[in-house]
Symmetry: C2
Subunit: 191 residues, 2 copies
């Protein structure tokens, strides 16, 4: 099992002792999800969060008309979860599925709570993680309120520079908040 990606990520933010590190890693469950398969679906109570090792996951909701709106992509090195469902143990309004065949480390809510008691620094790690996440969502919300679709597309290209190549256009459209048709016209119109 290759923990190097996760450990690098961890050590960038906090320092754990050998024992703490081992305890943390021991709680992780390896999972793999094939392309187009769900990790969790809307309506289910999601049991934990995933740290993606390979492939790519996404979380999205379906609106009243059945249209997908993508909240997040999770390429390797990213965490993904429906925090609301996991933390409060309530049915999720999100779907999480794999865009490509993917592998991940999975941490249940219960295990995470136990780890927080045993390893206070881990709580610090997740606080930092979530604060950074909050910053990006606040920025994205303001961008959605103030920018045109074209500008949001360019922002997307910067945020996920590697991803833009290998992602179907309709996924990008569902992320920046336009229809696939409109994105197509936008990209093919001069200027």
């Amino acid at each position: 099992m290759d923990f190097s990606l996760l450990l690098t990520h961890l050590q960038k933010n906090v320092q754990l002792s050998q024992e703490e590190e081992q305890l943390f890693l021991s709680k992780l469950q390896f999972k793999s999800v094939d392309r187009k398969q769900f990790l969790y679906q809307e309506g289910a109570i999601h049991q934990g969060m995933s740290f993606v090792i390979s492939g790519c996951l996404r979380s999205y909701s379906l609106d009243a008309n059945g249209v997908e709106h993508i909240l997040q992509f999770a390429p390797p090195g990213w965490w993904i979860a429906d925090i609301n469902s996991v933390n409060n143990q309530i049915p999720s309004s999100l779907n999480i599925d794999a865009i490509e065949n993917s592998t991940m480390f999975f941490l249940t809510h219960q295990d995470r709570e136990k780890l927080f008691v045993a390893i206070p620094q881990l709580e610090r790690f997740f606080r930092i993680l979530v604060e950074n996440s909050l910053i990006t969502y606040q920025k994205r919300l303001l961008d959605n309120m103030s920018l045109t679709a074209k500008d949001r597309y360019q922002n997307f290209c910067k945020l996920y520079p590697g991803l833009i190549m290998e992602l179907p256009q309709k996924q990008v459209a569902a992320y920046i908040g336009v229809t696939p048709e409109f994105l197509s016209k936008m990209l093919n119109s001069k200027q």
Copy 2:
């Protein structure tokens, strides 16, 4: 100095010893900001976060055309800050000002960091706080992508039930992401 609102808020999430509680409170600076005055402006490096005791603050950005987009209202019992500027000590892209004459407890980034070392449970408190905040921003983002202005308005009424009464309509418009003119027409059209 009346800490009761803050202490209630704190005790709902974590248990601190008497000494820890005192240490925490000792780091808070009382501030008051008059109506229409800034706590911090765009371009400045924001120094900390505020817990509102009375009145109401707001954070917002100005877009390329000078239009305001409101990220958050903070009535009594709410925290407000530009986390990105505070955490990373970079110039803010947000303004924070007072809608009404307001009072608050102010906690600097430096003091908060010191407190996290002395009181691990406080790090837990803020992790929980930020996770809940993240949940609401994720929901708001999805709402912005999938709902009509009318539905967003109704959501707003639920989220800030007391506030809707005393808030100028144009502030509500700047929060839900429509022009004041359109909100006016929306509210005055039957159905």
